[in-house]
């Protein structure tokens, strides 16, 4: 598994791709592999405030329910509604399946997140995937 270098990562297996004052958020391929077949995603509406480290939705596979944790604080601007009907796209391409876009409250929050190589090391220790 390889992790895009222009993303930042959390220990809860979310990725965040900053783009100026906004950022795109999804879950990593390690997460989708651990979950198994994803069948349901619950995402917040545009306008919702999300806080770094707090849950902003959930993703469900056949066997499990998993909370989604916001990598950074901000306001939801866009939601990928396609995932409501095609949640399996996350299994096919986790890094290419964005879930929400947010307007960042404080871009500095991203500095404390993991780089691609840090995240790769982290998951190697965690699951040996």
């Amino acid at each position: 598994m390889s992790y895009p270098a222009d993303f930042k990562y959390t220990k809860e297996h979310e990725w965040i791709k900053p783009d100026g004052g906004t950022a795109t958020i999804g879950i990593t391929t390690y997460a989708q592999d651990s979950l198994g077949d994803i069948v349901f995603v619950e995402l917040p509406k545009p306008g919702t405030e999300v806080a770094a480290g707090k849950t902003f939705g959930s993703v469900e596979s056949v066997k499990a329910v998993s909370d989604l944790y916001a990598p950074a604080s901000g306001t939801v601007t866009e939601v990928n509604a396609d995932l409501n009907t095609h949640p399996e796209k996350i299994n096919k391409d986790a890094h290419g399946s964005w879930m929400v876009k947010i307007k960042l409250k404080d871009a500095g929050e991203l500095n404390s997140l993991l780089s691609a190589s840090d995240y790769e090391k982290f998951v190697a220790e965690e699951g040996g995937h």
Binding site: G36, F40, E60, V62, K63, V65
Partner: protein, 352 residues
């Protein structure tokens, strides 16, 4: 891999959905060696079985099997079982993994007064289930026994993968046609047979299947799981297993309690639910009435990979049990609409 009642078992091999669909459309195989096996044989074997089982084993011809259950005196479940009649005075009871010890002790203790032997053969067998419309084709490649002559819920014996006199049962826990074979449990034999079955199934698209698919398959077919739809606090009427319970048998453990329970009327009943609004009802989730009060709970719930719906089994009060009734399932503190639907959710197509 997860711990399933002390057994190290896979949740999935390649993916729950693919495995589930393979069983419904082709063939899937399961290592179900965790199940337990109790042999009852002797002059009073039938009487002994009749004493502990709710179904009527006297209707079994040699080679025939039936689904049944064992009850506590209060009419609640010790376990659900499959009773196979293997000979004139010989029976095999197959029990659940999680209840092996408990079941064996229960059977042995309650059969003491009958002239028969009770043997725990659980560790002697590796049990492999080959399930799906092509299951019979796979197993037929491996045995000379004429499987076309074996009806559903009947058994035969034959040579399989070079092993003589193997019990081959047309039974399963998936709602599909299929077989379960009982082979010697040594690792070398078990691994060899598993691999030969897999090889034989290749042309039919066989997939090895884990606990995840096992659960979604039995859920679609409304087959109970001990600890969920049936338990030591649930009785036969509540669970809707009336048709396996032969009250006309003069007696069996739990008979009296069931008679009284029927007279008193059920306070809750097992129903099938289909989610109406977005959400997946899962095991243990509460069922609420329109005022937000809890009126029941989900025993088993999941996304159904073949039906492509979110389904569940749940206990609700009898007044909410009619097909079409809308209830709310509490999912992460929100009441989400679901509807009572007929069960089983899935029934395999009749062979033309």
């Amino acid at each position: 891999m997860v711990d399933f009642n002390g057994w190290d078992m896979p949740v999935e091999y390649s993916g729950i959905i693919a495995e589930h669909v393979a069983v419904r459309t082709g063939v899937g195989i399961f290592d179900v060696s965790h199940m337990g096996d109790i042999r009852v044989a002797g002059p009073q074997a039938l009487a002994a079985i009749q004493h502990i089982s709710i179904n009527d084993a006297s209707r079994l011809a040699i080679g025939q099997a039936q689904y049944s259950a064992m009850l506590y005196p209060q009419g609640t479940f010790v376990d659900d079982i499959i009773v196979h009649r293997l000979g004139e005075q010989e029976y095999l009871i197959v029990i659940n993994a999680g209840t092996r010890e408990k079941d064996f002790n229960w059977v042995r203790d309650n059969m003491r007064q009958f002239d028969c032997v009770v043997e725990n053969l659980s560790d002697d067998f590796t049990q492999i289930a080959i399930q799906g419309p092509r299951g019979v084709d796979v197993v037929q490649k491996l045995t000379e026994a004429d499987l076309a002559a074996v009806k559903f819920y009947w058994v035969t014996r034959g040579t399989i993968c070079g092993l003589k006199d193997i019990l081959i049962a047309r039974t399963g826990y998936t709602g599909e046609d299929g077989f379960e074979i009982y082979i010697p449990s040594d690792e070398a034999t078990s691994a060899r047979v598993w691999n030969e079955v897999l090889e034989a199934g290749k042309e039919f698209g066989v997939l090895p299947c884990g606990l995840g698919a096992r659960n979604t398959l039995r859920l679609e077919s409304k087959l109970p799981l001990y600890g969920h739809e049936i338990s030591d606090t649930i009785n036969v009427w509540e669970a809707g297993l009336d048709r396996f319970c032969k009250m006309e048998k003069p007696d069996f453990i739990g008979h009296e309690a069931l008679k009284n329970a029927k007279a008193a009327g059920v306070k809750r009943t097992l129903v099938g639910l289909e989610m109406v609004d977005r959400g997946i009802a899962r095991d243990g989730y509460r069922i609420l009435n329109s005022s937000g009060e809890q009126v029941g709970y989900v025993t088993s719930g999941s996304y159904a990979p073949f039906l492509k719906k979110n389904i569940a089994l749940a206990y609700v009060p009898p007044e909410l049990a009619a097909v079409g009734t809308e209830v709310l399932v509490e999912i992460r503190n929100q009441g989400v609409k679901a509807r009572v639907v007929p069960t089983p959710f899935y029934k395999r197509p009749k062979k033309s």
